[in-house]
Amino acid sequence: MSLLTAEQIDPALAVDRAQERPGIRRRRGANDDPFVVKWAIILVAFAFLALFIVLPLINVFVQAFSKGREAYFAAITEPVAVSAITLTLTVAAISVVLNTVFGLIAAWAIAKFQFRGKSFLISLVDLPFSVSPVIAGLVFVLLFGLQGIFGPALHASDIKIIFALPGLVLATVFVTFPFIMRELIPLMQEQGTQEEEAAILLGASGLRTFWRITLPNVKWALLYGVLLCNARAMGEFGAVSVVSGHIRGETNTMPLHIEILYNEYQFQASFAVATLLAGLAIVTLIAKAFLESRIGKGNRP
């Protein structure tokens, strides 16, 4: 989100505006596109976003309330829905905590030291982004499923990973793996090691340096990563779908619950649960805009 005013981005604009007094005709600058071209492009931009993004979003809320408020609240408070919501919150909480702890550890190792193979290690961190969510689920089935590599051993010792909470967490951690690290690593590299070195030389322990120097320096970026990680963790569908087993009231997360309702033609109930996730997306974007103003950075994927 651009936080600069138009005049700051383009000083020429400030001059242009100053000239916009009655009686003085404003002349087109070298970089100004013809009036028609400008408004045609703006119109196309609005039309495209309205068609592909705004309408679907509005549709979610309209369909959810299509049978009135009572039907809406009934859909989101029925026991199966509540258990799906609880499960989603649980899985997201565990995944976010794990990714935060290991993200901070990895960022410390990667950003604060010089070693060979660093850029290779960073590209490995980004690897899950380029793996289809379905494949992210599949790999854990191949490891821990009944026919999987560790399947027989797990079965013998009566440990359930696939079609149970651990599988859901593993698949979610996999798809959200890069989110926090890729916010922390570039920032910590940029900040350098001088402050930490000073603290160590003054006698602080490594852990104390981390808590008092490093963590406060990266807190907004960390929060930003946590926010994106959480949004993806709660909304993940493909990877979770493969490892869940779709046991109603037990291993169904919110997105999977939405799918089941939709496939059973309970459209209104399905959209009602979907509004919760759509609301999460909107809150995430607003919080993201706020954090970007704190960190002072622009948008990026």
């Binding site: 989100m1 651009s2 138009a6 981005i9 070298a30 596109d33 400008k38 492009i41 703006i42 196309v44 931009a45 609005f46 495209f48 976003l49 592909f52 993004i53 679907p56 979003l57 979610v60 290991f102 550890i105 990895a106 190792a109 990667i110 604060k112 030291f113 060979r116 590209s123 490995l124 961190v125 380029s130 793996v131 289809s132 379905v134 494949i135 599949l138 089935v141 191949l142 490891l143 590599i149 996999f174 793996f177 090691t193 160590i200 490594g206 909304g235 569908f237 779908s241 919110m254 997105p255 799918e259 939709y262 979907a274 996730l277 999460l280 997306a281 974007l285 622009g298 948008n299 990026r300």
Partner: protein, 283 residues
């Protein structure tokens, strides 16, 4: 430290403590969550004989699914490239009411869970939906056809193009265009000969990212696709179907083909980014 040095990581001297333990934990965590699971996929694939593997991935249904996934992803990324560029241009170059809102809306496909996007688009483009009802008299069916898959892939890919090109266009020195104009270039010449070559690497990267995301996409597609074998069945769905039929070998073979394709894509994207950094840095 021994774990770190064993894989060839060597650090330079530093007063900051904790390299050994944090690097060890990092590599352990990365291996447990990402590397070993992905390796398991290839390990399982090697259990298949080469003949069997070829037989699976060249069967009509698999080839049709792969063709559909890659073809439609390419088409959707191309559409995103065109409209994404126009949107970036509008956001970075013009001031108009609603510009900030337009900018904020771009991220919706990132934040909105794919299942929600899937049911919303399906409902919207179904024959009795808001848009589907308008298109039906024209004989255009979107939901439950390959066209529907295309719409979903356009939806999820848009932010990748916009957010990759936007910073580059924001940083672009406008004086270059002014120089071109004072030297007598028309506006169109200035844009096509000065602006376009500068943002070209970013456009390519955005295109590749949108394409890569679309190829693997599952959640938003399966609702709207109709999922007819050989017609509107995407490759990720075929993996899920084979898995549910307990035909693990088939699922694994298709997955490894897709995974190798996305690794090649990732390699190209990395190379593009390095190339563009060099170009921008050299100017």
């Amino acid at each position: 430290m021994s774990g770190a040095s064993a894989i060839g990581l060597r650090r330079y001297r530093s007063v900051i403590p904790g390299f050994g333990i944090t690097m060890g934990i990092t590599i352990l965590w990365l291996s447990l969550i990402v590397l070993i699971p992905l390796a398991a996929l290839f390990l399982k694939t090697t259990e298949l004989s080469l003949d069997r593997f070829v037989q699976i991935v060249t069967s009509d249904r698999v080839l049709n699914a792969l063709r559909l996934s890659f073809g439609l992803s390419l088409a959707a990324a191309a559409v995103n490239l065109v409209f994404g560029s126009l949107i970036v241009w509008a956001i970075t170059r013009y001031t108009f009411p609603g510009r900030r809102i337009l900018d904020a809306l771009i991220d919706i496909p990132f934040a909105l869970p794919t299942a929600v996007a899937g049911i919303a688009l399906t409902n919207l483009y179904a024959e009795n939906g808001w848009l589907g009802a308008l298109l039906a008299p024209l004989g255009i069916k979107v939901s439950f056809t390959p066209l529907g898959i295309f719409v979903a892939l356009v939806f999820i890919g848009l932010p990748f193009v916009v957010r990759t090109v936007q910073p580059v266009l924001e940083d672009l020195d406008k004086e270059l265009e002014e120089v071109a104009a004072t030297l007598g270039a028309s506006r169109w010449t200035a844009v096509s000969r000065v602006v376009l070559p500068t943002i070209f690497p970013a456009l390519l990267t955005g295109f590749a990212l949108a394409f890569a995301r679309a190829v693997g996409e599952y959640g938003s597609v399966i609702f709207i696709a109709g999922n007819l074998p050989n017609v509107s069945e995407i490759a990720p769905l075929l993996i899920v179907i084979r898995l549910e039929e307990f035909r693990y070998a088939d699922a694994t073979a298709i997955a490894s083909v897709m995974l190798i394709a996305s690794f090649i894509l990732l390699f190209i994207i990395n190379w593009l980014q390095r190339w563009s950094e060099k170009r921008v840095g050299g100017q």
